[in-house]
C-alpha cells in the first residue's frame, strides 16, 4: 500500500503518460502512484490509459493548470 510520486510538471506531451506507464510497471498491486501534471493533454490521456488497464483513477485539481492524478494499481 505504498504511495509513489511522479513529478511531471513542465513536461511536454506525451512525456507524462510515457513516464506514468513506466513507473506503474515498478509498482506492486495495492500501491498508489500520484502523478503531478500541468499539461491539459495529460489530464485526458493519463486517466484514459489508467482506466483502460482497470486501475482506479481519481483526478484532483490543485492549482491553475496543475493536477494530481491518483492511480491505484488494483491488479
Amino acid at each position: 500500500m505504498a504511495e509513489f510520486e511522479l513529478d511531471c510538471l513542465g513536461e511536454a506531451c506525451p512525456i507524462p503518460l510515457v513516464k506514468t506507464e513506466k513507473k506503474m510497471q515498478e509498482l506492486d498491486v495495492g500501491d498508489t502512484l500520484i502523478v503531478m501534471i500541468d499539461h491539459s493533454c495529460a489530464l485526458k490521456n493519463v486517466p484514459e490509459w489508467a482506466r483502460k488497464n482497470n486501475y482506479d483513477v481519481e483526478v484532483e485539481e490543485v492549482g491553475e493548470s496543475e493536477w494530481e492524478i491518483f492511480i491505484d494499481k488494483t491488479a
Partner: protein
C-alpha cells in the same frame, strides 16, 4: 447473523478505494497547498473584449469580423475538448490509444458531408464551387511536406492548431515553436519556385466528385473513413483481445 452482515459491510466500506485515496489525499492536503485562484472574472473581461474587438473588426469589414469569430470558436472548441491532431497520429504509435484518431475521423466524416452538400449546391446552380482552393496538386512536395510536418509536430508537442491553442494556454514551448514555424514557412516560401518548377506544376489536382460523381465521392470517402475507424478501434482494443 445480523452482526456479521453489518461487520461485512463495514469492512467493505473501509476497504473501498475512494476512502483509501481520500485518506492519502487528506494527508497531502494537510501539507500547505497554495490556494486556487479563480480566473472567471478575467475570463469574463476577456469575453467582453473579444466581443468588442469583433464589433470593431466588423466595422472595417464583415469578412474580417467572421474570421475573428470563427477563430475564437475554433480556439475555444479545441481547448474545451483538448482536441489534438498531433496526438491522433502520435498516440497510436506511442501509447496505443486511438481515441483522438477516431475523433478526427468523425470530424472528417461530418465536415465532409457538410462540405459536399455545399459544393454540390453551388455546382448544380452553376456557381463557383467553394473550397476548391483546398484541392491542391499532389506531388513529391505533398509527400515530403507532410512527412516533415509529421516529424515536426511530434517533436514540437503540437501541430499548427495545437500550437495556437497551447499559446493561448500559456505554454512557453509553443510560443517558441511558432517563431520557428514562421521562419520555416518563410524559408520554404523562398524555395517555392524550385518546388513548383520541379514537382508541384506536374502534380494533378484530384477532386473526388470528378472521379466518382457527387454521390459516389461522398460514399467512397465515408466508407474509407468507416474502415479506418474500425481499424483504429481494433488497434485500441488489440491487447484486450489477446
Amino acid at each position: 447473523m445480523a452482526e456479521e452482515a453489518v461487520k461485512k459491510i463495514v469492512d467493505e466500506t473501509e476497504a473501498t478505494p475512494s476512502s483509501r485515496r481520500s485518506s492519502s489525499r487528506s494527508s497531502r492536503r494537510s501539507t500547505a497547498r497554495k490556494p486556487k485562484k479563480d480566473q472567471t472574472l478575467q475570463g469574463l473581461i476577456l469575453l467582453v473584449l473579444v466581443i468588442a474587438f469583433g464589433i470593431y473588426l466588423a466595422t472595417i469589414s464583415a469578412t474580417i469580423g467572421i474570421f475573428w469569430l470563427t477563430g475564437i470558436a475554433f480556439g475555444f472548441i479545441l481547448r474545451r475538448t483538448n482536441f489534438c491532431f498531433t496526438a491522433s497520429m502520435r498516440d497510436p504509435i506511442m501509447t496505443g490509444s486511438t481515441s483522438l484518431t477516431r475523433a478526427v475521423l468523425i470530424a472528417l466524416a461530418i465536415t465532409s458531408i457538410g462540405f459536399v452538400a455545399v459544393q454540390y449546391g453551388a455546382s448544380i446552380k452553376g456557381l463557383p464551387v467553394p473550397g476548391m482552393g483546398f484541392v491542391v496538386p499532389i506531388s513529391f512536395a505533398t509527400v515530403a511536406g507532410a512527412f516533415l510536418f509529421g516529424i515536426g509536430m511530434v517533436l514540437a508537442g503540437g501541430c499548427a492548431s495545437g500550437t495556437l491553442m497551447r499559446i493561448g494556454e500559456g505554454f512557453g514551448m509553443q510560443m517558441l515553436s511558432i517563431v520557428f514555424f514562421v521562419i520555416g514557412s518563410f524559408w520554404a516560401a523562398r524555395d517555392m519556385g524550385w518546388w513548383t518548377l520541379n514537382f508541384i506544376s506536374n502534380g494533378p489536382r484530384l477532386h473526388l466528385p470528378e472521379i466518382f460523381g457527387w454521390t459516389g465521392a461522398i460514399t467512397v470517402q465515408l466508407v474509407f473513413i468507416a474502415v479506418l475507424y474500425i481499424l483504429a478501434d481494433r488497434w485500441e482494443n488489440r491487447n484486450q483481445e489477446l
